[in-house]
């Protein structure tokens, strides 16, 4: 799975993107986020408050129950502040 990070999530995690291989029991956005929290101290800090984390799967907004797989591009970012 290709993971992308934006804005302060990118800064806190310290990388723009990374490629991961999902354990077999990770199949939803929600379980992915929980798993990523344990990936490093930086991930744990950046993802401590999931209420300010938004997720896009293959460039569409996704919710906790939506499915993910190794073939997906998943982006994590704060609430958007465009325009």
């Amino acid at each position: 799975m290709k993971l992308l990070y934006f804005a302060w999530l990118r800064q806190r995690i310290g990388v723009t993107e990374e490629t991961v291989t999902l354990p077999g029991d990770i199949s939803t956005v929600g379980s992915l986020l929980t798993w990523l929290q344990g990936r490093s101290d930086a991930h744990a800090t950046a993802l401590a408050d999931l209420s300010v984390v938004r997720v896009a799967v293959n460039q569409d907004y996704a919710r906790a129950a939506d499915p993910v797989s190794d073939d997906d591009e998943v982006a994590l970012f704060p609430p958007v502040t465009g325009g």
Binding site: A7, W8, Q59, D60, A75, F77, T81, G82, G83
Partner: protein, 152 residues
Amino acid sequence: MVRVQRDDIDVGAELAAMTSGNHRIGGVATFIGTMRDLSDGQSVAAMTLEHYPGMTEKQLEAIEQEANTRWALEASLIVHRYGRFLPGDRIVFVATAAPHRQAALESCAFLIDWLKTKAPFWKLEETNDGARWVDARDSDDAATARWGQTPK
């Protein structure tokens, strides 16, 4: 049409290209978002707008299509910039054209409300206290909510 670009926006030229030769148009509504030198009461010297290339275009095209489904538009255009901005700089330009003004005015408001809450852009402001990421505004979510369900 949708464009995401670093370059400045030439409003007059964009409007001319969008409406030229279409004599069914009776009204064109536009919105231009510009950079303010004040944000949450603090002076802002500059701002950098980060975005998610690919998703931005995909989402803008989806919402433009949604606007064209809801209103009978003759033309529509969204141009959103990214990069570093100074106060007064143009950031985003939305224009919608229709035979009558109501469709143009409503669809233009719809698009800019959506852009503010769903387009994947993030603002990093440069203040005297250093750089800070701008928090999302609840009032923007409320403005979008009044349009009902939109594409994810």
